[in-house]
């Protein structure tokens, strides 16, 4: 039975929690995803992204809270949800001992698609993901990128309005990543699907997503468009500068400059400076070096990235959070 969720919402999550014994993998998470949106969950390994996606795709029941997907409750009406979603899991779930065509064909049969319709759909999807020449190749013989494309084709077999992609480019080489990104963009642009993806790649979230939720230790710590998230961080520009020799008063000389907001010494006469006015700060640094008769060994200006956003909201970088221990960390049979 469809719930009374707004027809414009593809996914509506209310205060959802998942515990595995004493471990809280997802804690009081609420958000909604509009129809036709590409929504990203950004966070390190063990943040609870995969557990959240597994709850929304009915693989794991929530401990508390509710969620509707395509207007259907994930607990009360899981079959209706499954009929309306496509899932590309983090692990390759296509069968390596079957051919590409067989993998798609059998998945179609699991959705009740049989006969001519099944054959046509299989051929159509193989063509869409550029694997028509490998239709009769065993999945085990495909490269990582091709295998991921096969997974995407399989996830689309029931022509779902909502597609879940769990870390779709993890483990792929740069060329394959770009190919998958293009496919994801195409899926939304041409077919108007809602895409829900998880990633721990900042550039991926920045490039693909209309909105991004930053997840850390099972909680959403920020949610907005990538642009809005970046603007919310003080110091829209990040400057790295190195002097030869070092400044007489070190960071204090830099903090005295009008356009500079904060300074972080990195050692070896190198400083990282946050500033709302990147070009103006760069000019001030050049003048400072001239006044003090110092050589500017290097100077680079970068805009704020989602990396900075993550650091700002969580207090640690993505790489630090990827450490094996911690809340929401994957364990066998538990969250990932």
């Amino acid at each position: 039975m469809a719930s009374a969720a707004s027809p414009n919402l593809s996914i509506d999550v209310e205060d959802i929690t998942k515990r595995f014994g004493a471990l809280v993998a997802v804690e009081h998470v609420s958000f909604s995803v509009k129809a036709g949106e590409i929504f990203g969950l950004l966070g390190p390994n063990g943040a609870g992204k995969s557990t959240l996606i597994r709850m929304l795709t009915t693989l794991v029941p929530p401990t508390n809270g509710t969620a509707t997907v395509a207007g259907y409750d994930i607990v009360r009406d899981p079959d209706a949800v499954r009929c309306r979603i496509g899932v590309i899991p983090q692990n390759m779930t296509s069968d390596p001992e079957l051919t590409c065509a067989e993998n798609i064909g059998i998945h179609a049969r699991l959705f009740g698609i049989t006969g001519t319709q099944r054959r046509e759909r299989t051929a159509e999807l193989l063509k869409a993901v550029g694997l028509q020449d490998r239709a009769n190749a065993l999945a085990s013989t495909l490269s990582g990128g091709m295998r991921r494309r096969l997974e995407i084709a399989r996830g689309l077999v029931n022509d779902p309005p909502i597609l879940f992609l769990d870390e779709p480019t993890t483990g792929l080489d740069p060329a394959s990543r770009i190919s998958v990104w293009e496919m994801i963009t195409h899926l939304r642009a041409q077919q108007g699907r809602t895409l829900f993806l998880t990633t721990h790649y900042m550039d991926e979230a920045d490039r693909l997503c209309d909105r991004v939720a930053i997840v850390d230790k099972g909680r959403i710590v920020a949610l907005d468009t990538p642009v809005a998230l970046k603007s919310s961080v003080p110091g829209a520009s990040r400057i790295e500068v190195q002097f030869e020799p070092d400044l007489p008063n070190g960071a204090a000389d830099l903090e005295a400059l009008p356009a500079v907001q904060s300074v972080r010494p990195l050692g070896s006469a190198t400083y990282r400076i946050s500033s709302d006015r990147g070009p103006a700060s760069a000019q001030e640094l050049v003048e400072l070096a001239r006044e003090r008769q110092l050589e500017l060994k290097s100077l680079s200006v970068e805009s704020t990235s989602l990396d900075d956003v993550f650091l700002h909201y969580t207090g640690h970088g993505l790489a630090e959070a990827d450490a094996p221990a911690g809340a929401g960390q994957a364990k066998k049979g538990g969250p990932r």
Binding site: T57, V60, P61, I85, V87, T93, D95, E102, H107, L110
Partner: protein, 370 residues
């Protein structure tokens, strides 16, 4: 149910593509049938028998004549003459001889004087089969020496005539029902239980868990594909084994149909049992670890290799609870006795009951979620 057939299609395609599975399912039962079938149950022959004649009279010559007749015809033993009792016993201890017969001094005279002389048979009782066969042959030989040359007139002698209902059943035929059941069991282990766990271990099950396939369809699909594979393995061993063991009138259609039905029932019961055991297991090492134990627990108490009547009480109870027992009995009755379906109703009932119990248990234990 249509979605369950998708799982069947998947498994059948993989099964066809991986003949190693079918091969592995067939090799153990067929090798066991051919090797054990020919190694056990045959007549003991060519045992070296040392003969020490301390008498050298006419009656001992008769004994030696009879021993040589056995050596030339039944060939249970091959007599070799020894002059010295000590040398013969030494050779027995060294394994050169399997037994020693000693004809004592005064044997001929004592026999004629009706003093009941004793022939001595010394056997190597570390091998009970050989010792038993030689003892039996020697008992027959002594009985023939004692038989009166002229039938006494005073009193008629009772005799026992043994009639075998069925044509001669050698051990390989006796073993065939167990081999067929074993083929079904091995396929149930490899193609049923292990494949499901491997799916879990490789994360492949997530692929079908996110489709609308129901819990019942998943259970039906896994079990149906397992039953088809087990049936194929069982019927292959049945036909090959039937030809190897030279079962008479093996291809008689009604009997083949009855055997097929027994193979279906056995497959459902054993595949269901494996699914029940594996329903909550995720570690792919577990089924491999319990394979040998299960094989021993189910195969040997079933009467497949030795009659249940020879078991101690506790083992007989195990065989009552063992679904293998009913499969082996059913196949044996249909294969060797050709007694028809009515003779195996208890076996059919027991296998059907096992199927219902294990599949109900598996349904309760099986989880549709991760």
């Amino acid at each position: 149910m249509k979605r369950a057939l998708a799982l069947v299609e998947r498994d059948m395609r993989k099964f066809r593509r991986s003949p190693a599975l079918l091969f592995a399912s067939l090799v153990l039962p067929l090798v066991q049938l051919v090797i054990l079938g020919n190694a056990f149950g045959g007549n003991i022959k060519n045992v070296n028998l040392g003969v020490v004649n301390l008498d050298h009279g006419p009656q001992s010559a008769d004994v030696i004549e009879r021993l040589r007749a056995v050596g030339a015809n039944a060939r249970t033993f091959l007599p070799t003459d020894y002059d010295d009792e000590g040398a013969a016993v030494r050779d027995l201890r060294r394994g050169v001889l399997g037994a020693v017969v000693i004809i004592p001094q005064r044997y001929s005279r004592d026999l004629l004087e009706r003093h009941q002389p004793h022939l001595a048979l010394i056997t190597d009782n570390t091998d009970r089969s050989v010792a038993g066969a030689v003892s039996q042959q020697m008992s027959d030989l002594v009985a023939s020496i004692n038989a009166p040359q002229v039938t006494p007139r005073e009193r008629a002698q009772a005799a026992l005539d043994v009639v075998e209902v069925y044509p001669y059943i050698n051990y390989i035929k006796y073993l065939l029902p167990g081999s067929v059941t074993l083929a079904i069991f091995v396929t149930a282990m490899i193609g049923g239980g292990m494949l499901f766990i491997d799916d879990k271990a490789r994360g492949l099950h997530e692929g079908y868990m996110v489709t609308p396939i129901t819990k019942w369809e998943l259970i039906a699909g896994f079990n149906l594909s397992g039953v088809i594979k087990a049936m194929l393995a069982g019927m292959t061993v049945l036909v090959l084994g039937g030809v190897i063991a030279e079962v008479p009138n093996f291809f008689e259609p009604v009997r083949l149909a009855e055997l097929t039905m027994m193979a279906v029932l056995t497959s459902v019961a054993l595949i269901g049992m494996m699914f029940f055991i594996m329903a909550r297991i995720s570690d792919p090492l577990v089924p491999r670890a319990i394979f040998g134990v299960l094989n021993t627990l189910l195969f040997f108490p079933s009467g497949a290799v030795y009659p249940i009547a020879g078991f101690p009480g506790w083992l007989r109870w195990m065989s009552v609870c063992d679904p293998f027992t009913y499969a082996v009995h059913g196949f044996r009755t249909l294969l060797l006795k050709d007694s028809g379906i009515t003779a195996v109703t208890t076996d059919i009932f027991a296998l059907a009951l096992t199927s219902v119990v294990v599949l109900s248990g598996a349904t309760l234990l099986f989880r549709r979620t991760l």
